[in-house]
């Protein structure tokens, strides 16, 4: 009977008014949206909690926090090991962003412009680092650096981060290359610009959103990377995630919260600024 009512309602009311359907459907929808909000809460709670705890006088995640303090941040800026690691992470991140972006730009150019034998294989090779489990990637590099006699340290970390970031950077840059109208380059050459001038004045500015996005992503991937670094760092040089990890395991001090909050802030600000710049650009050109 209910089904008959629905069928009858289906013809007359196009939107929402289907027999017994509307109330229950609307309720279901509302429940689903509430549920989605809860999942957002689940996703963001630990992140926000780190932020809040970093100014919690208790020095750990208590509820409700008894007040606000900058004590852990003062601890942080006087913590030489943390500061040194922070500097290392920023330097590594900057170098990785530069190298991975240049390599990604070259690879995107090659993949989008040329057809050649083994292209599928080459493409698979570019995405391979994405698919190898971190632990396996880490030990493979340990074995390899040991084999070729490259001492663990700053440059082994850079190399590991570059190959880790490259597939992501390449993906972003490739997107802007595939959306590219090759006739613009022909027009440029036709108007007297040589290959290099065409690249500099036409190609590069047009793929720039992908390049910048790729560079920012490479930076944060490097800045946050832990597993590979854990294997290839070799004790002498430490990045911020390494120091945080070892502090978590051995002394769980409140200064970790402040360091963790800084790590979160750096990544989110870097990527969010890239995203916002992209949107602003899209709006300007529309």
């Amino acid at each position: 009977m209910a089904r008959a009512a629905m069928r009858a309602g289906g013809g007359t009311a196009a939107r929402g008014g289907q027999g017994r359907g509307p109330d229950r459907g609307a309720l279901g929808r509302r429940l689903l949206l509430v549920y989605a909000a809860l999942v957002y809460g689940f996703l963001f709670l630990p992140i926000l909690l780190v932020m809040v705890t970093s100014v919690n006088p208790d020095g750990r995640a208590t509820f409700p926090p008894p007040g606000v303090t900058d004590r852990w941040y003062r601890d942080l800026v006087s913590d030489d090991q943390m500061l040194e690691a922070f500097r290392t992470s920023l330097t590594v991140g900057a170098i990785v962003a530069l190298v991975a972006t240049v390599l990604g730009l070259l690879a995107a150019w090659g993949l989008s412009r040329y057809t050649f034998r083994f292209k599928r294989g080459v493409r698979a090779l570019f995405y391979l680092p994405m698919l190898v489990p971190g632990v396996v990637g880490g030990i493979s590099l340990v074995i390899w650096f040991n084999r070729i006699g490259l001492a663990s340290g700053f440059w082994t970390i850079v190399i590991a981060h570059v190959v880790h970031a490259l597939p992501y950077t390449l993906t972003l840059i490739l997107t802007s290359f595939y959306g590219f109208d090759r006739r613009l380059e022909e027009a440029s050459r036709d108007l007297g610009a040589g290959e290099w001038s065409t690249f500099r004045r036409v190609t590069l500015p047009l793929v720039m959103p992908g390049v910048i996005g790729g560079a920012l992503l490479a930076f944060t991937l490097s800045f946050d990377e832990f597993v590979l670094t854990f294997f290839v760092a070799g004790g002498g040089v430490q990045t911020l995630p390494l120091v945080i990890f070892s502090r978590i395991r051995f002394e769980l001090s409140p200064v970790i919260n402040a360091a963790a909050a800084v790590v979160i802030a750096v990544s989110v600000l870097v990527l969010l600024s890239g995203q916002l710049a992209g949107w602003a650009r899209a709006r300007r050109q529309a």
Partner: protein, 306 residues
């Protein structure tokens, strides 16, 4: 430069000033450099290292000195496959990763459905970005935060300790590992399912309604089958990093929750049995490859990323 004056003279007609001479790069330079340089880097620092994991997995340890010797020996694999310890670790790794994956599916599906089907498409971009943002933040930091939530006298107990029957001392347990996994990798499950929900042809659902299907049956017979590629993609994309994980069980789990990744790390960092660690790595990689094969066989990749 001689060519420069030559080029200038020959082209100087009319009011347009001379064209510059060509920059003298032969045509093969661009293709070879653009593909060759990144390929060389990846061969040198991804492919060859992986090949040598394979090579090392056939080396052995000298029984007297404990030092590695470069012979060809399948004993590492025999040990991995026959020893109780490694079989148990392998099985446990499957269990934990599998349980986390199913849990994540249950959590993610309604969320992805709400995002893709109920929210105004113009607002979906921002909401999807909000799903991705946590993914941008440090894995270590996010896992670390759960320590403060789940430990005894932690946030969970402070905030919800009054709820009767709610376990609040979860740190260093299987549950903590599962929660950690679901949290850090959840976007990998949400995004592909969201993509397939968004691609659903809304008219099919209306047609099912119109033909008299109650909502739950429409869901089972139309929505679920049509979003299955996204579900499969999500399952595989989520399972693989869980399976290879090393940090989450290390920080959140107890001694009974160690997984393959931890055992491999131990072989390298503490036991100094590189050949055995290499053999374990090869086994883990093969399992991941099988997972990916399933992914590419059954999931419509274009739909997931389209």
């Amino acid at each position: 430069m001689a060519t420069s004056t030559l080029g200038r003279r020959s082209a100087g007609t009319g009011a347009a000033p001379a064209r510059r001479p060509p920059r003298g790069l032969p045509g093969w330079v661009a293709p070879v450099a653009s593909i060759g340089v990144p390929v060389a880097v990846l061969v040198a620092f991804v492919l060859l290292p992986l090949v040598f994991v394979g090579v090392y997995s056939f080396y052995s340890l000298n029984e007297m000195s404990g030092l590695m010797q470069t012979d060809f020996w399948v004993g590492n694999y025999r040990e991995v496959l026959s020893s109780d310890i490694y079989r148990r670790v392998l099985w446990r790794t499957f269990q934990i990763a599998g349980a986390a994956t199913l849990l994540a599916l249950v959590v993610a599906y309604p969320m992805a459905y709400a995002l893709g089907a109920l929210v105004d498409p113009r607002r979906q971009g921002v909401l999807v970005l909000l799903v991705i943002v946590p993914f941008w933040t440090s894995y270590i930091v996010r896992t670390f935060s759960w320590i403060g939530i789940l430990q005894r006298d932690g946030f969970l107990q402070d905030a919800l300790g009054w709820v009767p029957g709610l376990p609040t001392d979860l740190l260093y347990s299987r549950a903590a590992v599962l929660i950690g996994f679901v949290h850090v990798f959840l976007p990998l499950m949400i995004l592909p399912i969201y993509a397939s929900v968004r691609n659903l042809d809304r008219r099919l659902l209306e047609a099912a309604h119109d033909l008299g299907s109650p909502p739950w049956r429409t869901f089972l017979r139309v929505t679920l089958p049509l979003t299955l590629p996204g579900v499969v993609a999500g399952l595989v994309l989520f399972f693989i990093p869980c399976f290879g994980s090393f940090v989450t069980p290390q920080l959140l789990g107890g001694t009974g929750d160690l997984m393959m990744g931890n055992v491999i790390a131990t072989q390298f960092g503490e036991a100094f049995n590189w050949p055995l660690g290499a053999a374990l790595s090869i086994v883990m990689t093969l399992i991941v490859v099988v997972g990916l094969a399933i992914f590419f066989r059954f999931a419509d990749v274009d739909q997931v990323y389209g």
